[in-house]
Assembly symmetry: C2
Homo-oligomer: 206 residues x 2
């Protein structure tokens, strides 16, 4: 819904500068929101701070995003693209040759992610637990978490594993558990999860 700012708003519009400014504001707000929300969570970052940091007027903010929650939804969508797709899935596919190797490589990527000094855990889990599963933002987080499971399930199907959905759900338990353990400070959490992930692959291999 938010990529409209770039594609559909100035479709055959030749007001390049005007459209550019609008897109600038929109994307600048979103970039600031991505940075702050992913590092500090949703509740801890107020609208006023977002406005100040993105150098935008309050009216402009509310023109682009009718509420804070709608900005959070846009943030979640971008998080799905930048983190889930680009940072995890694409990286894992680059590192493995076979689908099984690509699955296991997820935890290699996790291992490096966990070691970052500004490791910020998983925004989808954070927001789900922070807002609860009944809140619209919690529901959206559940949806994006299911997309992660979808990537795993697709790789499981490519690998010819048995019961790919059950496989993906168990795999996801290992992913989420290792993330929480990393939040506690266990830097070897990815390795531990990867070991169990190997057993899971074995038990789903025909």
């Amino acid at each position: 819904m938010n990529r409209d700012g770039e594609t559909t708003l100035p479709p055959a519009d030749d007001h390049a500068a005007l459209a550019g400014r609008r897109a600038d504001s929109h994307e600048r707000i979103l970039a600031v929101a991505y940075d702050l929300f992913s590092r500090r969570g949703v509740r801890d970052v107020g609208v006023n701070e977002l406005i100040e940091r993105s150098g935008v007027a309050k009216a402009t903010f509310y023109r682009h995003f009718p509420s804070k929650d709608s900005l959070v939804l846009a943030f979640l969508e971008q998080r799905d693209q930048l983190w889930t797709v680009n940072a995890i899935v694409a990286q894992a596919k680059l590192r493995g040759t076979t689908p099984k190797d690509q699955l296991l490589a997820i935890f290699d990527v996790f291992g490096e992610w966990f070691r970052q000094d500004d490791f910020e855990a998983c925004s989808f889990i954070n927001i789900l637990l922070e807002m609860g599963p009944a809140h619209p933002l919690g529901l959206a987080s559940i949806d994006y978490l299911s997309r992660i499971r979808g990537h795993v399930q697709a790789l499981a199907e490519q690998a010819g594993l048995d019961r790919p959905e059950d496989f993906a759900r168990s795999w996801h338990i290992l992913m989420k558990g290792s993330i929480v353990s990393a939040s506690e400070g266990d830097t070897l959490a990815a390795k531990r999860a990867q070991q169990m992930a190997g057993w899971l692959i074995e038990h789903h291999s025909g």
Copy 2:
């Protein structure tokens, strides 16, 4: 630090009624806090609501707990006792005969817990992710999570498993991952984790 209200405050004190009233207020606040914090999280429950629900004056509240955070710390301590020890560990020990069975029974208890209609996830994980690992409450949560791991490690040692600490850390990944999955609505998360837990026991059995 908070059970003092019952034991050390009126040690040789014969003012029974006075001491009783003090303890009443203290424990009434704590009981309300336990209910609200565990169901809705720490940030979502304000001091005013705690005061109103426990039928206590604000000054009385701040006499017993100098700050909201100190009440949260007392809540975490009670959560460790009522949930970790009494509801999970003790229950699991009741259900299993051997240490290995007792370990696996943890996920039987989890399965029933996940199915409760007012399933509220794990307060330690919630607060850790909500406040961050640097916040005093996050640090306290990390400590209580490590106590859970300590219970697992003790059972692993009784079972004669290899490298009990590594075992407990991997086991804990399964526990935490299944809790997050249950928050998403996967009611079979406990069964999935239990299956992987069985493989983990095998690989740590001499």
